[in-house]
């Protein structure tokens, strides 16, 4: 199968993820969308790795996974504590940083 198709798939996934981040309010869903985007990137990396015939992309994909895992830990903790204090997981409610 032509590896370029994987790139199309990755682009599609990334777009879905990006739209989700922009459109959805629920922090958990936004979070999942971010994961989707990360995985789209991973797919791209692996695909290119295959296309170019070296392992750099695949190694980088592992790194991404590790970072994503760490991010999930921190991010979920923030979301949980936010939910505890505000009884809502909407990102729009947490807009206190503006002046």
């Amino acid at each position: 199968m032509n590896p370029v198709n994987y790139l199309y798939l990755a682009a599609l996934l990334f777009t879905i993820g990006a739209s989700g981040v922009l459109i959805r309010r629920n922090a958990i869903v936004v979070f999942m969308c971010i994961e989707l985007m990360l995985n789209a990137c991973n797919l791209t990396l692996v695909t290119f790795s295959r296309m170019h015939g070296n392992l750099d992309g695949q190694i980088l994909a592992f790194f991404t996974m590790v970072v994503a895992a760490a991010e999930v830990v921190v991010g979920l903790a923030i979301i949980v504590s936010l939910f505890r204090s505000r009884h809502s997981a909407s990102v729009d409610d947490a807009s206190l940083m503006k002046l």
Partner: protein, 631 residues
């Protein structure tokens, strides 16, 4: 001998310092200290004078260099004195009349709690005036010049609690400053032309300079003289200066300071001789002022202001004479000296009248005072006869010479200037007779003053009458004494030079003409003010009278053009500074603030908005990269 010159200045300067810094403990003795030091200066002057008389005419000048004042590369100003016949004449006049007026002031200012300070200021004036006439360079002269301006300011405004006095003082200083611009520019011109401004080198090298430069210097010196000597167009301050105590009017605004301009012109005679255009302007200014002052003097009901108009007019005579060149220099100074006597005497007489009349100055409220104040009447009367040029008295000799010299100038100018001088003599006779008649003759027209006190005219104390008597002697005899064998002419000739000119009419004719106009002037005055009672309220008068009462509208002009205009200018500049100059900067700051306020709105705190800008930014970057590649 020359080491004494500095003492002339130092004595009154010491007096000023002691009296002004001494504080209250000198209140009881201050006036004696002041008078004593003025007298000391006179004695030193007399000693130097006798010494000078013992020398030949050409080596009478003394020089004394004290120290280098402003030592800067290419610019050497020394504190150095020069005492020649011209300076000597002034020294004697200043210290002599000055001492008399100190004595007079002891009585006149007796009830003033600030008498000590008054004497301090008088001494300061003497010191500055002596510095002015003794300086051997124009810069030091300038120092004395401004110094007398300061003393005049302090003394005019001596009764500072009166707003009118404070305003008059300020006006006098400011108008004088306008004249001072002339002197400072003249000094700068001398510096660029000759590289120095000491009398000797400048006057010695005049022949090598271009006439344009000399004319400019001459005109600038004239501007200075106009300010100090109250000549048109800078004459407006002198009338107001009468706000000061009367001894001040006598000493500063009649006898000495106001004649400084004449001194300056005569001292710089060489420059004017080489710049005929400037010299002609001097004569014209003198002639115009002569008439101007006389006309103003005719209309004033305030005795001191009438005398001030007269002063202006008489100095006009001197300036006119000085503008005639070598024909007139000597006579300018001679008239200056005799005028010093009789005008000081007249002012002291006026002061004595005011002293007896609860400080009333309106002549329409005098009348018939001759029996109440005999000494004042006689001394004032002698001064009066002297100033109108009654034959045999001082004014006769000096004024007559000026009129002769004006005709001797030759050509149309000579005729015009001579006729003006003659006309001035007629008007002088008119206004002085008017003053005399309104004050000492006719009905009593006294009224209670504002506080309801009835005046009780009485003769003044000895300390006041004695100086008046002495000055009356001078008014009577000085002119004759100077004229016998042309003494004064021979005395001053080595300094100023002299030239007889060619008179188109004989001296006798001029004298006769002078007598005729004199009689006409007196007769007209008598017919108006002597034959019938003087109304206690001034009649409306003709247009000219009304204008003359307002100093021929000079003040109105100044007010409208300079004061109002200046106020508008400063006010609009304050506005401009606040709105425009400051506004540009504040505007920059405000627009920065506004811009950042708008940018701040983008930071709305929604994570999503930030995400959009992130995606958008990335997209733009990628697009840009691709575009770059494509190109």
């Amino acid at each position: 001998m020359e080491n004494l010159i500095a003492l002339l200045v130092a004595a009154p300067l010491l007096g000023a310092a002691v009296l002004l810094c001494g504080g209250r403990r000198l209140d009881r003795s201050g006036h004696w200290i002041g008078t004593l030091l003025a007298a000391a200066s006179f004695v030193i002057g007399a000693v130097l004078f006798t010494d000078m008389l013992g020398k030949g005419a050409d080596d009478r000048a003394l020089h004394q260099k004290l120290f280098s004042w402003i030592p800067v590369e290419g610019f050497q100003a020394d504190v150095a004195f020069q005492l020649d016949q011209l300076s000597m004449t002034f020294v004697l006049l200043i210290t002599g009349v000055g001492t008399l007026i100190h004595i007079y002031s002891i009585g006149y200012m007796e009830h003033d709690e600030r008498r000590r300070r008054f004497f301090g200021f008088l001494n300061l004036f003497l010191a500055a005036m002596l510095l002015l006439v003794l300086a051997d360079n124009y810069l030091l002269l300038y120092a004395g010049w401004e110094g007398v301006g300061l003393a005049s300011y302090l003394l005019i405004g001596f009764w500072q609690h009166k707003p009118s006095a404070a305003t008059a003082a300020k006006k006098a200083f400011l108008v004088n400053r306008v004249g001072d611009i002339g002197l400072s520019i003249a000094i700068m011109l001398m510096f660029t032309t000759f590289g120095t401004f000491a009398f000797g080198p400048v006057l010695g090298a005049t022949g090598d300079a271009s006439e344009g430069k000399l004319t400019a210097i001459g005109l600038m010196l004239l501007l200075a003289a106009c300010g100090k000597s109250a000549q048109v167009p800078l004459q407006s301050w002198l009338g107001d200066a009468m706000e000061g105590p009367t001894p001040v009017s006598a000493l500063i605004h009649a006898a000495t300071m106001v004649t400084a301009g004449v001194y300056l012109i005569v001292r710089s005679g060489v420059i004017f001789n080489a710049a005929p255009d400037a010299q002609l302007v001097v004569a014209i200014v003198g002639a115009v002022t002569l008439l101007f002052g006389a006309i103003v003097g005719c209309a004033k009901d305030d005795i001191k202001k009438a005398l001030a108009g007269s002063t202006m007019s008489q100095i006009g005579y001197m300036v006119l004479a000085a503008g005639l060149g070598p024909i007139g220099y000597v006579f300018a100074i001679m008239h200056l000296v005799t005028h010093g006597f009789f005008k000081a005497g007249l002012f002291l007489g006026a002061g004595s009248v005011m002293h007896g009349m609860n400080d009333e100055v309106d002549m329409r409220r005098y009348g018939g005072l001759r029996t109440y104040m005999p000494v004042t009447f006689v001394t004032f009367g002698l001064g009066y006869l002297a100033i109108i040029g009654f034959p045999g008295l001082s004014g006769f000799f000096s004024k007559d010479k000026i009129i002769e010299a004006a005709f001797a100038k030759g050509g149309t100018e000579g005729w015009i200037l001579g006729s003006v001088a003659l006309l001035g003599a007629a008007i002088t006779a008119f206004y002085m007779t008017r003053v005399m008649l309104m004050t000492f003759f006719g009905q009593k027209r006294w009224q209670p003053d504002a506080e309801g006190r009835e005046p009780h005219p009485h003769e003044s104390p000895k300390s006041m009458t004695i100086p008046m008597i002495v000055l009356a002697f001078g008014s009577v005899f000085a002119g004759g004494f100077f004229s016998i064998g042309d003494r004064f002419l021979h005395w001053l000739e080595p300094v100023t030079g002299h030239d007889h000119g060619d008179a188109p009419i004989s001296a006798t004719t001029v004298t006769a003409a002078t007598m005729v106009v004199l009689v006409i002037g007196v007769a007209v005055a008598w017919s108006v003010y002597g034959r019938k009672p003087v109304p206690a309220v001034a009649p409306r008068g003709s247009l000219l009278t009304r204008a003359a009462r307002r100093d021929l509208l000079q003040d109105d002009f100044n007010h409208v053009v300079l004061v109002r205009g200046g106020e508008h200018l400063t006010r609009s500049l304050v506005y401009v500074d606040h709105t425009l100059v400051d506004g540009v900067v504040n505007g920059t700051a405000a627009s920065m603030g506004g811009l950042s306020g708008r940018l701040r709105k983008l930071q709305n705190g929604y994570a999503r908005t930030y995400a959009v800008s992130m995606f958008g930014g990335t997209a733009v970057l990628i697009a840009a990269t691709l575009l770059m590649r494509a190109v």
